[in-house]
Amino acid sequence: MSDEMMEEDGVIKKFMFVNRKAPYGTIYALEGLEVVLISAAFEQDVSLAFVDDGVFELKKGQDTKALGQKNFSPTYRALEGYDIEKLYVERESMEARGLSEEDLLVDVQVVSAAEMADLMAEQDVVISF
């Protein structure tokens, strides 16, 4: 890592991590979250977007005992402790999946597709999982 470099530069960029995959079926949601956690150390302007099946990452009540995988969903609730507080969920994706805000395990901002489009367009760096 390069704390010195960052201090020298003092660059703060808008990073958006776009989550479009369901958890457990593939590793992208989990390994994506690992990038998010690391990014916290770099003091950038970080936001997370949950679009399409990415909304399922935030579903309450995940229980992976019978699956034999680790339940990583509590980590989303821990993001606040890393000063990562901008979590956006696209309403259209959520509703198409039969979910509502009460189904989600963490406080998020539910935004329309048009608002999400605006948020994406104003980023410097978008990384999609």
Binding site: G25, F56, R97
Partner: protein
């Protein structure tokens, strides 16, 4: 015939293709991200419910639970564990995974 679908119907076309090509009387087992196809209130609910007139639909419990979807399963979908998965394979003379 047993058809196995492991992908989310919102992300991929495999459930749709399976339902198009599954003959009347066959069984469709939803596993992994495929279990989202068994959820209530989604945009694919009507399609899955329509299909249940022709095919029997099952969903794997471990995958439903992992995803927090166990209490959202459509009426008429039979939830099975891994042992039930094995039984379905044994009971049907042939099978196909919709990769």
């Amino acid at each position: 015939m047993l058809h196995i679908v492991n992908k989310s119907p919102f992300e991929r076309n495999s459930l749709e293709s399976c339902l198009r090509l599954a003959k009347q009387g066959s069984a469709v087992l939803l596993i992994e991200d495929g279990v989202y196809g068994a959820a209530q209130g989604s945009s694919v609910e009507a399609k899955v419910q329509g299909a249940m007139a022709n095919v029997k639909v099952y969903a794997l419990d471990a995958d439903l639970q992992a995803r927090g979807m166990a209490n959202k399963v459509l009426d008429g979908v039979t939830v099975v564990d891994y042992g039930g998965f094995v039984d379905l394979v044994a009971e049907h003379s042939n099978l196909q995974s919709w990769l």
